[in-house]
């Protein structure tokens, strides 16, 4: 399914998007600071160096920490899908690391009433095609 807006990789994010195309969710890891980092950056945000920055595969499992519903976006390409759901999920093995998802398959477009978003519920990553050859991570509820 084509997405309204597709990401264009740059040198800092290319490994992340390449991994998505292989069905893997990876984040950066600084072995000196012993911390994961997402979104990807050229250097560790804590120590400021890139010498010890590597990529680490994650479980892809996450918990829902909150949500919003967009009724009037500044992003014109998203207007036809309004209202749409924005959910934030935090990585199960490291809750500091969070991601966007639209939980497309679980809640769809029926957002005219307050959706029953199960805060704390477990989700697992899936990869959907934003455009041919470009996969992006989304999450679905573990039922």
């Amino acid at each position: 399914m084509a997405r309204p807006i597709v990401p264009v990789p740059d040198p800092a994010t290319q490994p992340f998007w390449d991994a998505c195309n292989e069905g893997k969710l990876i984040v950066q890891y600084c072995s000196v600071c012993d911390r994961r980092q997402f979104p990807p950056e050229a250097a560790c945000r804590d120590c400021g160096f890139n010498f010890h920055l590597t990529w680490q595969e994650t479980s892809g499992r996450a918990k829902i920490v909150g949500y919003s519903i967009t009724y009037d976006s500044r992003l014109v390409q998203w207007h036809p899908l309004q209202p749409f759901l924005n959910v934030i999920v935090a990585l199960e093995e490291d809750p500091v690391i969070n991601f966007h998802t639209n939980l497309i398959d679980d809640f769809g477009t029926n957002l005219s009433e307050e959706p029953d978003i199960p805060i704390g519920a477990t989700c697992e990553v899936q990869f959907v095609e934003a455009e041919p050859g470009r996969m992006i991570p989304e999450w679905k509820l573990v039922k």
Partner: protein, 429 residues
Amino acid sequence: MAREVNWERNHDPVGIWNGRGKAALVARGHSPTDRRWDGESLDKSLGAFMMIAVQNALDDAGITIDDVDGIIGSAGGQGNGQPLSDVWGPRPYFDAPYDSEDGLTHVTGQWLRQQMGFKNLRYINNHGDPVWNLIGQASQAIADGRAEVVVVTYPNGNLPGRYHQDPSNQARGPAVWPNTWGWGLSGQGFTFNQYCQKYGTNHDRMAPFVVQERKNGLLWEHSYYAQHEPGEFTEEDYLNGRMIARDLSIFDCDRPVLAAAAYVMVSADRAKDMKQKPVYILDHTESQFSPRSLVQTIDDTEEWTDIQAQRSYNGSGLKPEDIDIFAPYDGFAVFTQYYIEAFGWRGVKRGEAHDFYAGDISLKGPNPLNSGGGNMGTGRMRTVFITDPLEQLQGRAGDRQVTTKAEVAVTHGVLPITAGTVVMSTSPD
């Protein structure tokens, strides 16, 4: 021209500011306030409005252009220093001096110098934003002796069309993370939603605060609403506001306007010669944070605002009970509670802001919060956060004058993630 230095006080421990009481804010000047520039009327361009505001500020101080030796301002016509031309340009230009964006949709100190005939400038800086940081920067420049009489300029523009709309179907750079998933104002909605869940409150409990701000704003002659929509705004109006991004309605978002303001700041020595009573700067502090991960959470928000509030208290040596006038930013109305709770004004603790709003926050009551009306009551010009504390401490706020003591003011903005705080006092000590 003096060389720029790193002027921000943004590393702990900041300690008591060594410029305490050496700079004073003495006068303000405003342009008319319009909803948008029509792209044609040169007497209503941002440059024209900026010149009106500067002249009004000079008149208010009782000085002339020849007394001024510094201009510090935001050239950008819109928040975060983003020139309007980046959003809506390019356009056909006019004859000089309106033959570029400078003067139309942003205004540099160099353009003002040329148009208004400043002859004695030794310091110009256009890189500051937002207005709290400009006041801090000017205070530091004066305390450091780089200038003695500074005009601070703050133009805010708005052109025809919807605000900040992005038509692209591709996302690049940092925009890949929000835009790919349609994330926008939903960020503020999400954080507020987390706040409500954490403290068992809800969006509707914001109503008394926003309604009070509208009332206060109608008493400020430069407010967009006072000039163009002076009707009453009720709790029912607020509660019926259409949602933009849950839990953020149209009435939690400030309305973009076209306006300019200028301030005269001087050294403590020169302050004695001014027409208006000086209001001394006791401290300025700044901060810049990063989310722990992709999305700013309520935990991030509370940590950042706590750090900045404590930094301000450390820099000024004041305590919460010393603050008479408190002006925390409200560009999204949901910001204000984070700031009140961080600063602990009137004893408000985390999670208590909505209870506080339900009490008496009126102008003539014991807790006159945002007595100028904030952006919700005046439009998206931000300058009420400087003008109102100044006028309250000078005792010339007219119908907005609070009945409580007005000797020390704290004004704070803009975002939780990047902030500036200015502490003002009727006394330099």
